[in-house]
Subunit: 197 residues, 2 copies
């Protein structure tokens, strides 16, 4: 009953690259450099003994085998996601890349969100930016900003609201819809509330 399967991390790289048909975009999604994705995919191809991609100077094409393999792998990862969420809804496996707008940075403690070890655990990196687009291509997992919506299909929660005066919220925490309830988001929102309390 021993499974004959390739190194699993390479599969993740392959799946993302196949979806984007780009190592660069896949790298963005996975939070690594394009070189890393390239290497992982190459190693996977070596271990399978077949080519999955045809490399073109301006992008990728799947080979016939890659074309056949990619949807299977996507299905596998989806099923894995489902199974995992069923038993562990707030999987704590991925650190967040966080965007922070300049005004928000002023309102928050000096080294936020690195000011406490508790929160730091959930943060991979922080960039100063306000660009919600970055959430869609997975360059960022969430953004903390002063600017209002509309946030479209994104999820947002407001922090520092003062309903008595009718004033608008001071800060907004914004992320893709599926991410709002996960542990990382909750930790960040909780901490923001503490900081503005």
């Amino acid at each position: 009953m021993t499974y004959r399967i390739p190194a699993l991390n390479g599969l993740r790289a392959f799946e993302a690259a196949a979806r984007h048909l780009s190592f660069k975009l896949a790298a963005g999604e996975l939070g690594v450099t394009p070189g890393a994705v390239s290497q992982q995919v190459k190693k996977l191809e070596a271990s399978l003994g077949i080519a999955l991609f045809r490399r073109l100077p301006h992008g990728l094409l799947l080979t016939r085998e890659g074309e056949a393999y990619s949807p299977s792998i996507s299905r596998v990862l989806e099923e894995l996601t489902r199974a995992t969420e069923a038993i562990a809804p707030d999987l704590n496996a991925k650190k967040f890349s966080l965007g922070l707008c300049p005004k928000a940075a002023c309102l928050l403690p000096e080294r936020w969100p690195r000011h406490t070890a508790t929160l730091d655990r959930f943060i991979r990196d922080v960039r100063v930016t306000d660009d919600l687009e970055l959430l869609f291509d997975n360059s960022l997992d969430c953004i903390v900003r002063t600017g209002e919506g509309p946030f479209g299909t994104l999820s947002a929660v407001s922090i520092g609201q003062t309903p008595s005066s009718g004033a608008q919220a001071l800060l907004h925490f914004v992320c893709r819809a599926g991410l709002m309830t996960c542990r990382q988001s909750r930790a960040i929102v909780d901490d923001l509330r503490d900081c503005l309390a």
Copy 2:
């Protein structure tokens, strides 16, 4: 479309341990030490934020969550195996079928390559043969023989060379090019070197 899933290698450890209800047996199956399995599972549990096993002094019990998770993971790995075999029948993660020429057999320990559990893990079966053709149609994964090349597109490494006397190598390990760097090949070559040292 970013999958929120735990580290994949830990899942393999978990799945094997859940099937055997033993880290030790799982370790045997995976070709690592029990400590490694223990650590992988522990890390998985940490990233999920739940316990998968109850540790007893003489074995393991699945928790309720582990009980729910294990069949899902088995299914996922099975599907992965199926998908992989469909496109790459000679995946190099499998056990090797090994050819051995009669002279080589004389130079090596009695039950080689079954003489140590370490090496045995990587071997599916052994035949006495010298026929390099069998490597091309995947009847065999590798051949250990005294005969020289030419090996053409095959990869070969020499073992027991005595360069000072200019004598030729005693043994050659031969396999298809893509297989030379894989774990199985390395284990076999290392063992051959030990045996002739």
